[in-house]
């Protein structure tokens, strides 16, 4: 660290800082005239300013005319986005100037950021998806949420729609490893960051690097792909200000629908009859429930209605300013968002609304120290505030909804006291939301970076040297003010009809607590980049070095007296690239990364990750251009290379070290302290290596109006870290060491196609589509010998779900008795699910569980189809997002941070704690025995539900394909309408150059087979905050 700072200082000192003398000239000359475009149409809104004095300037009016006072021998710049700027040197006044601005799109070659450097698009040979930044401008909570269906090569999954939790997970080309880290590296201006921390309007360019050729220079970090975000920089020119205001209404749909009290009670009696148990509710009680005579003892509560509003509001504001001159350019922005959850909360003491607020800021300052020396200073950061109920976790609200029945207890008793119920004295979600105080998590992140870039001339023409240092701090502050009210349980009414209730939970006084944590990273890099053309030969070279040092107070573990986990995590890397292109036709790229990590022992710290990529552009041949004019561009490219990963599951630090506790006990009359190993160092631990192969075709037709890109990839992961569970105990190891023994591969394809067509000057449209398909297979997973092959993890996709194969429902007792023994699940009755005895041993047990489907909530196929149509200044856009090859289970899943998913779907799951979904009320949806219904017709073998049971029915809640459903969906993700307002005189008087109006609707409908819940959340059975439908109005004011 010290060395890199020194090095930077040296670079600064060695540069000659030449100032510019600013003379305050008398501006007594006047120029005026008209600005036209290439078709001689007047151009309104063109910025006109005096070079190096951007504060002095004007813009053209609606007729393209302008008037400006200037000084002798000053230069006036005419500038407009999308046009090549024109400079006009003033020596005398002139009132009849005619300036023609030309489109610059044809002049500028498209440039792609390919990791550390920019390359001409034609010469890119890695698999890189460039995302059209304009597409990212539609309103969304975070950039993450925009990627699914929009960007080829990305899989996303969002499990909750609740503010603060509604940030999608995303993976580049699916999940490639079962090791510790399957997430992509996100680089924001070259520095590791989080996508959700960037305001979409700050983004200048956005790239997804998918193959080894593109990611090799990142060495260690590139194994799971890289997302590169470049933020906007100031531009020489007049001050430009953009303001944005967004108002969004979120509407909750597809909330679970449960039975009302009367239906619930009737069905409960039926469910109990199925097992020969007496009625739960007498006829009298049923009448009371039906007529709602006693809302205290026999209430009828729809818990969803009581805790949820149907809609919630969100507002976001953003402002940016940019400008600059020869001396310096700047870009600053600040944004704020406030997002409320749709929970129904009453006014009460210490309550705070569940909400997520965020403030972001960014400042990019570029200083031109000399014409060839630039100093960049950047700061960005954010503050978030996440307010939750005092019980801290809103998951409990949703699990309560799945479990609390309508007749369990009222919101409040008539005297205003609060109820509890059951053995564990449960409180209601209403109480949790309103009477338990609040928890607030306030996180902030601040990053400061400084970089120096020097262009070298002479015979080293084309060489750029740069060095950058960064400090990144994140603090996590959490506090709560928590209390409980008195809670009572009613048990009946006395002779006078007065409610008998007893105090079950005594109120707790307000308690306060807080915690503070911090994460920080220092990072330094140095880069030498050389690009030069010699005639038809394009040459490029890059050498890149970085070092980083991160520390987190949360790494500390209890009992780690030596602070092993708190030692900074460090990495160091040298990487490079050599590229050569001939005549824009043949390209070859060689890359390498040589990365070291402190995770490994001396001698095994460094991994070498080379890659090679080739490209061929046949359309550069003249005969192709002559004979196949339809094909405007064709490129074949292929790459092969390595990437690494040093993360180890369980966040174990220094797994190679044998760790010692020198304060251990001592025995057999020894009086000193004992010494013992507490972790056995893993021998020969080395990098997890990913071998990535990619081939791709890019083709453009009809003057680039039709474009398509298709990539095929295969990613072989070897040396995946996993615990050596097969090591015999007789080795006597204190801990099970990690080793590089796992392997898996993933393969698939991604691509996109787009077609642009302009009918005339006023109307044009674009249609585009993309897809990502990814599948993985575990080649080796360390596990003990298993009795049956199908129990093994190896040879199957990662995250496989195992369960029983159902063979329908038992039709009668005789079938139960002649079938394999299922009594391990408790008493089995007709109407229960029958399972297949896979191993034929006559008993249904764990040995009969077979792989049922690929499992984690990540789909294997994701696609998007969309388009937009423009009529003059009005643009209408639409986007469908789809996912396929994904399955979910109605019951039997035990999901991390969620628990069992069966309650809420299987009626009366825990007896008195088990809500009943409306679907189950329809007799045709469930199996009912003839002895109960009087007709065999109700013994429906294809029913959605097995026979009812009151309380846990272990047999029917096993994970089996009985509960398996297709989770595919197509979602109308977005419909947007945009209208650009400009060229009005009133705007000029306000200093406005344009106004963009946008109306966006998200998640209007989905086509799927799930029906009851959002398909992306189907497996949770309504136990999570749904993904809302939202309507957004957004306005941009450009000054």
């Amino acid at each position: 660290m010290k060395k890199i700072i020194l090095f930077t200082l040296l670079l600064i000192c060695s540069c000659i800082i030449s100032g510019y003398s600013q003379e305050n000239a008398n501006r007594n000359l006047e120029i005026s005239g008209i600005v036209l475009d290439a078709t001689d149409e007047p151009l309104p809104g063109v910025s006109i300013y005096i070079k190096n004095v951007p504060a002095v300037g004007t813009t053209t009016d609606t007729k393209g005319r302008f008037n400006l006072k200037v000084g002798y021998r000053e230069t006036v710049v005419f500038q407009m986005i999308g046009m090549t700027p024109v400079e006009y040197f003033v020596e005398k006044s002139n009132k009849e100037i005619e300036i023609i601005l030309e489109d610059d799109s044809q002049q500028l070659e498209e440039v792609v950021v390919t990791g550390l450097t920019s390359q001409k698009k034609v010469s890119v040979v890695g698999a890189i998806t460039s995302v059209d930044v304009d597409e990212l401008k539609t309103p969304a909570v975070s950039l993450n949420n925009m990627l699914g269906g929009r960007v080829a090569g990305i899989m996303t999954s969002m499990t909750s729609g609740e503010p603060g939790k509604n940030i999608s997970n995303f993976w580049i080309r699916g999940i490639g490893t079962f090791g510790a880290n399957s997430g992509a590296l996100v680089l924001i201006d070259g520095l590791e960051g989080r996508l959700e921390d960037v305001d979409p309007d700050d983004v200048q360019s956005f790239q997804i690097l998918k193959d080894a050729a593109a990611t090799a220079v990142y060495g260690v970090r590139g194994a799971n792909g890289v997302v590169i975000v470049t933020t906007k920089r100031g531009e020489a020119g007049r001050l430009q200000i953009t303001g944005r205001a967004t108002l969004q209404v979120n509407q909750l749909r597809r909330l679970p629908e449960y039975l009302g009290a009367y239906d619930y009670a009737k069905l409960a009696n039926e469910a109990r009859a199925m097992s020969g148990d007496p009625d739960l509710y007498t006829k009298l009680e049923l009448d009371v429930i039906q007529s709602r005579l006693d809302p205290e003892l026999y209430p009828d509560i729809n818990w969803i209605d009581e805790i949820m509003k149907k809609s919630s509001m969100q507002q976001r504001y953003y402002m940016s300013a940019k400008g600059g001159g020869d001396l310096a350019n700047y870009y600053v922005s600040v944004g704020a968002q406030q997002e409320y959850a749709a929970y129904k909360q009453e006014e009460s003491k210490f309550k705070k609304p569940v909400a997520y607020n965020k403030l972001t800021y960014r400042a990019n300052i570029d200083m031109n120290l000399t014409p060839k020396t630039k100093l960049y200073f950047g700061v960005d950061g954010n503050l978030t505030n996440h307010t939750l109920p005092g019980s801290e976790n809103t998951n409990t609200l949703w699990s309560a909804v799945r479990q609390l029945t309508p007749v369990m207890f009222p919101l409040k008793y008539a005297d205003g006291t609060l109820p509890t119920y059951g053995t564990y004295d449960l409180s209601s979600p209403y109480t949790t939301l309103n009477y338990t105080g609040y928890t607030r998590n306030s996180d902030s992140r601040n990053m400061i970076t400084l970089s120096l870039t020097q262009q070298v001339g002479g015979f080293l023409e084309g060489l750029t040297l740069s060095a950058q240092v960064m400090a990144d701090y994140e603090t996590y502050f959490s506090e709560y003010r928590r209390l409980w009210p008195n809670m009572y349980r009613a048990t009946g009414r006395d002779a006078k009809g007065i409610l008998i209730k007893s105090l079950r939970i005594t109120e707790s006084q307000l308690s306060y607590g807080s915690s503070n944590n911090m994460w920080r990273k220092y990072y330094g890099e140095a880069k030498a980049n050389w690009n030069r053309s010699f005639g038809r030969h394009d040459l490029g070279a890059l050498l890149y070095y970085y070092m980083e040092d991160a520390q987190d107070t949360r790494w500390r573990r209890d009992g780690d007296n030596l602070g092993i986990n708190s030692i900074p995590a460090r990495r160091q890397n040298v990487s490079g690239r050599l590229s050569y292109g001939y005549n824009n036709t043949y390209f070859i790229d060689g890359n390498f990364g040589y990365t070291g990590s402190s995770q490994f022992e001396k001698g095994k710290r460094y991994g070498f990750f080379p890659s090679l990529a080739l490209g061929w552009v046949p359309t550069s041949y003249k005969w192709m251009q002559d004979n196949l004019p339809v094909l405007s561009f064709l490129k074949f490219r292929g790459s092969y290379g390595l990437a690494g990963n040093d993360q180890i599951a369980g966040a174990a630090r220094f797994p190679y070290l044998t760790l010692i506790d020198n304060r251990a006990g001592s025995y057999w009359s020894y009086r000193g302290s004992g010494i013992t190993e507490i972790q056995i160092g893993a021998d020969n631990l080395k990098w997890e290596v990913s071998k990535k192969a990619n081939i791709g075709v890019e083709a453009n037709f009809f003057n680039d109006n039709l474009r398509f890109v298709v990539d095929l990839f295969r990613d072989q992961r070897d040396n995946i870290f996993m615990p050596r569970v097969t090591l015999p105990d007789f080795l006597g190891l204190v801990t099970t060491p990690q080793s590089n023994v796992g392997s898996m591969h993933s393969f698939g394809s991604d691509g996109n196609v787009s077609y642009f067509h302009a009918l005339n000057k006023d109307i044009d449209f674009t249609v585009r589509a993309n897809y990502t398909f990814s599948q993985n297979i575990i080649d080796y997973f360390e596990e003990n010998k298993l009795p049956y092959e199908y129990m093994s993890v190896s040879g199957k996709p990662y995250g496989i779900i195992r369960g029983y194969i159902s063979e329908g429902l038992f039709s009668d007792q005789e079938e139960i008795e002649t079938s394999p023994d299922q009594s391990g699940f408790g008493q089995v009755r007709p109407g229960d699910i029958r399972y297949r005895d896979v191993n034929g041993d006559g008993i249904i047990n764990d040995d009969d569980k077979v792989p049922l489907s690929y499992g984690n909530q990540v789909p294997r196929l994701m696609y998007g189809v969309g388009g937009d149509i423009r009529w003059k200044k009005l643009t209408l856009a639409i986007l469908f997002k789809g996912a396929a090859k994904v399955e979910y289970y109605r019951a039997g899943m035990n999901i991390a941070n969620f628990g069992l998913n069966a309650p809420g779907w299987i009626p009366f799951y825990n007896g008195e704690l088990g809500n009943v979904i409306k679907l189950a009320n329809n007799p045709s949806n469930r199996w009912t025995p003839a002895w109960y219904s009087g007709t065999t017709e109700t013994e429906n073998p294809n029913a959605e539900f097995p026979r009812l049971s009151y309380g846990s029915n272990s047999n029917n809640s096993q994970l089996s394909d009985f509960w398996k459903r297709d989770g595919s969906y197509i979602r109308l993700q977005e419909v947007s309408m945009r209208y650009k307002v400009n060229n009005y005189l009133w705007m000029k008087s306000l200093g406005l150059s344009s106004i963009d109006l946008e109306f966006v609707a998200n998640n209007l409908f989905t086509i799927d087979k799930v029906k009851f819940f959002d398909p992306e959340q189907a497996t949770y059975n309504g136990g999570v905050y749904p993904i809302p439908t939202s309507y957004t109005f957004q306005i941009y004011l450009n000054f």
């Binding site: 060395k3 090095f7 040297l465 140095a526 880069k527 030498a528 050498l543 070095y545 070092m547 030596l562 602070g563 030692i567 460090r570 990495r571 160091q572 040298v574 040589y594 070291g596 990590s597 402190s598 001396k602 460094y606 220094f654 070290l657 044998t658 760790l659 010692i660 020198n662 251990a664 006990g665 001592s666 025995y667 057999w668 009359s669 020894y670 000193g672 302290s673 004992g674 010494i675 056995i680 160092g681 893993a682 021998d683 020969n684 631990l685 050596r724 097969t726 090591l727 015999p728 105990d729 007789f730 080795l731 006597g732 190891l733 204190v734 060491p737 080793s739 590089n740 003990n784 010998k785």
Partner: protein
């Protein structure tokens, strides 16, 4: 730029975490100083179980799997009982008994120490020798436990296993029983060459094993190795006759009788004796309150006779906390045991604050000799045996030194040897329980264990299993003053005399081993043994020397206030073997030997589940006629599920190896009769 980058990579120790460690925290620093090396050495025994954990949560089959103890309990705590009813298999090896992994942790540490200790710079040659001696002891002792639980060992040698090899590398075979015993004995021999003997060691280190302990464990193992189960013959064939190692076809357990092994065992035991550092524990007779000796007991001063000692206290005070552990010259190796203390509570009736379920069968009661050294079947007129339980002592009872026999005690329990009164709480025995203060209801009681007694079924309390099922409870570790009745009635304080010792090895065992081994020697054998004073190997000639046998056997008898063994018994090898076996039952009762003895002698198959061995008083009946349920004083088969379900099969000589370990090591054979 390139230069700077490459310089940084090569010279910079940026990735080194070493600067964050103090030297003492590093693995390799363990062997940088003698202090650290010793800290590592003496942390190693943590994986050895409390040696006194032989009842509940026992680390081997333990007392509850033996035929000298039963209870109604069948919980996981009493896994020994689960074993006797066939509930234990390779997939549910009880956690407390499954010390496989713990012992190999010890072995790995030992191998690490042997590999590394030469690196310690501040250690003298002598210190290093002693250090290595202790390491060899620890390693041998770990394998010893493995051998006792599972038989033939997986010997790993000196290797500190790497952890990144393929599964094939770890796929190894077990050694045979004899290879294992030889290996372990060699470890103890190496230890004996350098660790201090009892006289060289400060008593503040009394928990440490000494040279005597190492030699004594060799003696124990050599006796086992000579015994029928492991030395050819019928029982070895029935349990292990087809059990061969795959690679070389070697029998895991010897199938050809080798008479010489008895001589080896005798020489090994004699080496301990010849150290001259141990003697049987005695307590001087109280002239005011002498313990009456039978007329045929020699009155010469101990060890030539029982003169001048109190036999009851001499035996009982060793176990009940009265004697001092550190200075007891009978204890070759003993630890203070919290388990011994805790499980005395299981012998105390619920009414007196215990859990009262430990029960001793009539077979054990009948093995105790009469006061004149005869068996109950051959009692003299002077000290008659009365099998009719309703006949009582009468008169004003009896006083044996400090021990009181009340007048209403059945005659069956009169005239018995002192060890009976020390070891067994029988119907009508007197419990002083003097530490239970302030409430007469909880002190100075006679306990009957009958249905109508506070110590019987009616006093069982909330857990219906908490009562004595035979009428006999073990009292060997209970001090007469001990009481668990704290908090009962007005009892504000009740004390357990502490610390309670557990004798891992005591001199009496060595004497019995020596005599048993000698008794089986045929002709004259020349064997090698370890010189008891120095460290050399010497050659000794062993013959079945009757005088020698009598000399050492009689010490045990005299200490118990009994006459010596008769010439008739001495001269008849078979008869004397019976006498020795019975003597071990009595002398070593409730010390954890019996479960292994019945196996090595080969009597386990016939005797262990034989209901005639599982009898006791009819505790479902009353002692009095108050409730019309009289009938307590009758010897009946113990009527409990644990006795009814009891089985004895050849495979039950060892625990099964855990299924999970066998999965990982295909070449490792399971013990015979058990599934993999």
């Amino acid at each position: 730029m390139i230069g700077i980058a490459s310089m940084m990579l090569s010279s910079c120790n940026f990735l080194d975490v070493d600067t964050y460690f103090e030297d003492t925290f590093r693995e390799d620093s363990i062997f940088h100083s003698m202090k650290n090396a010793e800290g590592y050495l003496w942390n190693t025994p943590k994986d050895f179980p409390d040696p006194g954990a032989i009842w509940g949560n026992s680390w081997n089959l333990g007392e509850m799997a033996s035929d000298e103890m039963t209870a109604r309990w069948r919980t996981g705590e009493f896994a020994g009982i689960q074993f006797t009813v066939g509930e234990i298999n390779e997939r549910n090896v009880p956690g407390s008994m499954n010390i496989w992994y713990r012992m190999y942790k010890v072995i790995r540490r030992c191998n690490t120490m042997l590999n590394e200790v030469d690196k310690v710079t501040d250690m003298s040659t002598r210190d290093r020798q002693i250090y290595k001696g202790y390491v060899h002891f620890l390693r041998g002792y770990a394998y010893y436990h493995l051998l006792m639980n599972w038989g033939p060992c997986m010997l790993v040698g000196d290797e500190v296993f790497p952890n990144s090899e393929s599964a094939e590398y770890y796929n190894r075979e077990r050694a045979t029983y004899d290879e294992s015993v030889d290996y372990i004995c060699n470890e103890f021999a190496l230890a004996a060459q350098s660790i201090p003997s009892a006289s060289q060691q400060s008593i503040s280190y009394f928990e440490r094993p000494t040279k005597g302990a190492a030699l004594a464990l060799i003696a124990r193992l050599r006796l086992y190795q000579a015994s029928p189960l492991f030395n050819g013959g019928d029982i070895a064939r029935r349990s292990f006759g087809t059990w061969k190692r795959k690679s070389d076809g070697a029998f895991y357990v010897n199938q050809e009788y080798d008479a010489r092994r008895w001589a080896v065992a005798a020489a090994a035991a004699k080496a301990v004796i010849d150290m001259g550092q141990y003697q049987l524990y005695t307590v001087d007779a109280d002239p005011q309150n002498p313990y009456p000796l039978a007329s045929n007991v020699p009155t010469a001063p101990f060890p030539e006779g029982a003169g001048g000692i109190d036999p009851l206290h001499s035996y009982h005070d060793m176990f009940n906390g009265e004697g001092i552990i550190q200075t007891n010259k009978e204890f070759i190796w003993a630890h203070i045991s919290s388990n011994v203390r805790y499980y005395t509570r299981h012998s105390f009736p619920v009414y007196f604050g215990g859990w009262g379920g430990m029960a001793v069968p009539q077979r054990v009661i009948d093995s105790y000799l009469m006061a004149d050294g005869r068996t109950i079947h051959n009692a003299s007129e002077e000290y008659p045996y009365d099998p009719i339980l309703t006949n009582t002592i009468g008169g004003s009872g009896k006083v044996l030194g400090t021990y009181i026999l009340r007048s209403d005690v059945p005659k069956m329990y009169s005239n018995r040897e002192a060890r009976f009164y020390a070891s067994i709480g029988f119907p009508g025995s007197f419990w002083p329980m003097n530490s239970a203060s302030q409430d007469g209801s909880y002190t100075k009681k006679q306990l009957w264990f009958s249905h109508d007694d506070v110590s019987g079924i009616t006093g069982a309390g909330s857990n219906i299993n908490d009562y004595n099922v035979s009428g006999y409870t073990p009292t060997k570790y209970i001090h007469p003053d001990d009481s668990w009745a704290n908090g009962k009635g007005n009892v504000k304080s009740a004390f357990i005399t502490e610390p309670k010792p557990f004798p891992i090895i005591r001199y009496a065992e060595i004497l019995l081993e020596y005599v048993e081994a000698l008794n089986n020697v045929e002709g004259s054998e020349i064997v090698e043994t370890i010189e008891p004073i120095g460290n050399d190997t010497i050659t000794v000639t062993i013959t079945r020397d009757v005088t020698e046998m009598a000399k050492y056997f009689n010490q045990i008898r005299y200490r118990a206030g009994l006459p010596g063994v008769s010439d008739v018994e001495l001269t008849n090898r078979g008869l004397f073997q019976e006498v020795i076996m019975n003597e071990r039952q009595i002398e070593l009762f409730n010390e954890g030997y019996r479960v292994f003895d019945t196996r090595r002698w080969g009597i386990f198959l016939e005797e262990d589940a034989n209901s005639s061995n599982w009898r006791g008083l009819n505790i479902e009946r009353d002692r009095t006629n108050n409730n019309n349920n009289e009938g307590f004083f009758e010897i009946v088969t113990i009527n409990t599920q644990n006795i009814r379900d009891r089985i004895a099969t050849p495979r039950m000589v060892f625990l099964p190896l855990p299924h999970n370990e066998l999965l990982k090591v295909p070449a490792m054979d399971q013990n015979p009769g058990w599934d993999r």
